[in-house]
Amino acid sequence: MTIPFFTRTQRAANPGNGKTARLFISGDAAAVAVGADGVATAIAHAAATAGRTVDITRIGSRGMLWLEPLVEVEIAGVRHGFGPIEPAEVAQLVNAGLFNADTSLLAHPRSLGPVDKIGYFARQTRLTFARCGLIDPLSQEAYRANGGYKGLERALSLAPAGTVDEVTKSGLRGRGGAGFPTGIKWKTVHDTAAEQKYIVCNADEGDSGTFADRMLMEGDPFVLIEGMTIAGLAVGASKGFIYVRSEYPHAIAVLRSAIATARKAGLLGGDVAASKRAFDLEVRTGAGAYVCGEETALLESLEGRRGVVRAKPPLPAHRGLFGKPTVINNVLSLAAVPFILAEGAKTYFDYGVGRSRGTMPIQLAGNIKRGGLFETAFGMTLGELVDDIGGGTATGRPVKAVQVGGPLGAYFPRALFDTPFDYEAFAARDGLIGHAGVVVFDDTADMAKQARFAFEFCAIESCGKCTPCRIGSTRGAETIAKVMAGEQPDTHLALVTDLCNTMKFGSLCALGGFTPYPVMSALNHFPEDFRRSKRLPQAAE
């Protein structure tokens, strides 16, 4: 028996003796990948066998992924955590009194105390992820009861230009990586006259080390729907598309179900919330092309073509999807909008530093002890995030390098751990925050290999339109391989540097243009890894 995501509440067949224990178990793909379905099934089975009643609500993830599968039990009105619990450990949890759900259960060795008091959770500022992991993702009632649709209500009370103004004043910048002010994008589309305009949500989260979009779509889909609806009403677009990568089937299923619910409730369709204005949404599936995360390639793909990058101008805001003015924003940008409208631009703006306002859902990944999602105001240093929050490496070895911003992000050594998490501060050190994925490597990492991989990945995923990316990536991988083999390393490293310059300034989009970040940062910060004398002892591997 498997529990599909949509079976939110499981009740054992026998109406039981005593009270009903209320349990919450994540249905998030990452939790499922480590056994959450098996745990939920085992508990439901044990309850049926014992003749007890149990309510299991499948929720999104709290983001503390090292604790998954995490079983939350409501004890005296407070949700206590137990984790990680393997399916095979369920019997022990049951024997400890799971179904009584009283304080005696707190003596269990995996007891974590109240979930919202766990340091990792308590230290966050959850604005965008406020509901993720708390409520049933597909319950619109629960969404509304926890602050949902307040943003839309306020947007409807403002003129469209007023909504755009709020977003501008909040200081929100594109969370997909480029950091372009969201309000300016919206204003451009608002000011461009056209019979048809579109809102496109970029949910092609292909960067390794990132999963915030996925977590949010699976854990709180209505916040994205609400954000896109507000965007549509603000700029005068009646149709929106969410382009989700095919690697995220759970997210696609949740979104489709939530959209159907919103439509039934009159919050999508011809008359949104009785405003006499139309907005509707459609989910489209990608097909495994990383470059489709680039906005113009994504638009080509949405039109049913090869995901080949378009030259800009024209900007998508002027001529985007099907040649019409289009707002194209990342999931996290659109999902930040309901909070901004509900609580006011100033409240959002008051978080953060410099020109990086609000909060960023940071994803701690790779070789890290406490991996997961950590939403916080901009400004925390990289060192605090990796060492204090993340607890260092999972292997217990020293941290050697941290790649921030996905496969096109720079590798930072410990020496740069004082860099605050802020768009400009990372740029000043030849890095980028991108979609805020942080991938940690321990001291066994070979940075020459990582540099070669950056080129290889670019070669696999290049759309082929521009020469620096299409040919440069392959030549780059070959040249690094020569360096690794000890063939004229100085000459070849000079060639790599020159090639990186050409790619950086000559490529049409960020794929070719940013591949030099991981390559050059590896080369600049870890030059010893590119020397054959240093490499020889590893040759046996």
């Binding site: 793909a29 990452a30 480590v34 049913g304 995901g307």
Partner: protein
Amino acid sequence: MAAIEDTARTIAAEYGNRPDALIEILHAVQAALGYVPEAVVPVLADALNLSRAEVHGVVTFYHDFRREPAGRHVLKMCRAEACQAMGGEALVARAEDRLGIACGSTSADGRITLEPIYCLGLCATAPSAMLDGQLVGRLTVPKLDALLKDAGA
């Protein structure tokens, strides 16, 4: 052959023969047939009023679309950075070794296809893999061996 063509035509019609739905149509064709046979290219071109070159271009651009049937089981192993940081490459090497095939190919008996995937979005529970659509996180040697055993390899 006629069955393949009919399937493609029916699916295209379900999507209103809209050219912008080509990718969704190809996903549906692959779900129905297991791959995108060469024979569907002219059928879809005709149905959507596109050139054969345009349809061929889309089929070959996207990594998801197979032009040959896959093995009975498909094991996708993540080879992106977060999984690399957790020893994912050694596991890929082990799978290749155990199956006697290179990543990106199908075993001679057609039992299993081993493919790379660039990120399943399970980067905090790395390394990760997917066997026939089932996600597996925190992959270890014993877990990998169990997956290969499940796949009969």
